[in-house]
Amino acid sequence: MTTLAQPTAEVNATTPRPQNISRSMSAWRRRLLIGIVVAYAALLILAPLTALVSGAFAKGIGASFTALRDPAVFSAFLLTLYIAFITVAVHALFGTVLAWVLVRYRFRGHWLLNGVIDLPFAVSPVVVGYMLLLLFGRTGVLAPVLEALNIKVAFAVPGMILATLFVTLPFMAREVMPVLEAFGVEQEQAAATLGASGWQTFWMVTFPALRWGFIYGVILTFARALGEFGAVLVIGGGVQGRTETVTLFIYRALDERQYVGAYSAALVLGLLSLALVVGTEFLRKRENR
């Protein structure tokens, strides 16, 4: 499902056209089809995007900046970035391990492990938050253990990190796996034959080859973590100044009819995710050239 990763090859349209169709009719059909698709994409995707930009600046750029300078917004951005960084750190390590195990080893239960890591794509974020609440909540399964250790997970940052980890689990493995598969084992075997240790082989041969899969996985995980809403809302509760991420701030601001603040924060968040994904794509295309 992480189709973002595949750069689409441009196909030229100079292939011979069936001769018996009258040229004018096919040109007319061509124009009609292109028109329909462009109109659809413009209405569905671009119009709302433009509306958000104009909504954020409806009271002038100054008002938007004032709204963004609210300390609640600042602390929300800090918390969002904090959660996203921890999520990326955990998945960068374990996601790569997971990809490695799935590509390089055959074992009983391989199909299960491989199938299971796609599940978060199909689980509703609300259900993710609720699951964690059942585990870590006040009446949750692990409540006695947590109380004994005096750790707070639900309605606190650790729970929100767990929720974000769940939601972003597939990205890293799914980006690294195809690259690892394509790379094969010959070069590693050559390195090993030349006397390199396992670690040396990994860091000097395998990892450089995986670089783009790894970077892309990290960026997608990070972008997805920035935008997570439902799961962190349920497990975190969105307490202002304590468990309020940017998405939760936007939700509260809309509720309190602070439209300029909500729209401006939404715009900043959207642009941030967009810049990350588009920027990586751009870098990769340039390197491929």
């Binding site: 994409a41 997971l98 195990v101 590509v103 609300v126 609720y130 090993a192 998405t247």
Partner: protein, 284 residues
Amino acid sequence: MTNIPLVTAQNTPRRAPWGRWGIQSAAWTYVTLMLLIPLAVIFQDGLRGGLGELWQSVTSPIAWSALRLTLWTSALMAVVNAIMGTLTAFVLVRYNFPGKGLLNAIVDLPLAIPTLVTGVMLVVLYGPQSFIGAWLKDQMNWKIIFAPPGIVLALLFVNFPFVVRAVQPVLQRLDRESEVAAATLGAGSVTIFWRVILPALWLPIASGALLSFARAIGEFGAIVIVAGNIPLRSQTAAVYVFGEVESANRQGASAMSIVMLSLAFTLVLFVDWLRKRGRKDSEE
């Protein structure tokens, strides 16, 4: 869930067997802790009272209407997405026109934008305070926001890439010779599309549409903003679960969660099976 060619490093020299066991168990532990235990807990909680009680909670009027609304809006989205996604992929693969690169980039945009932000965008555009929203309400008495049309629009936005990106690569690899042959035999281009191109594309279209349907069942961020939370009118299954969790009704929340999870997992497994079958067909 992809079928991976067997590439093993087991006979690479110098890799101690304990390293292999260690790394495998690390992967299993990670997945078990992160995914399997939380999923198991929800099934255990929802099935405590047996299937009968689960059925009763799901068929209570408010829950049932939320489930029905979710299913029909998702199904409508999947159908529109299948048609428009195929058309978009066709135009992107077969035609050259100014702005094609931009259109190709726009297709991926929804994957990069947080779904909550998508919801906010739609409210700004069609909400009661907006020009369009007010006009539609005054002139046509037609409501988009806080009503089902808004839900369908949000789902279409969020799931736009799935059919396009499933169909595009298949269409690119499609052999043009059979089309030329059909044309030589006197088939018009409409006949060629229906009889030659479409049969080759049904698998990616179906899997893209079904995957977007599976995702739509659980969509929350975009919908909670667009649809509001009006029971029996614009409350979807995910929003219903949220409400039940907020009001500490565990029975209702767990029951609906299990139904959503089962539906989504069945769909994902079915798509996986379809793809495997498709691959086998093409190998033969």
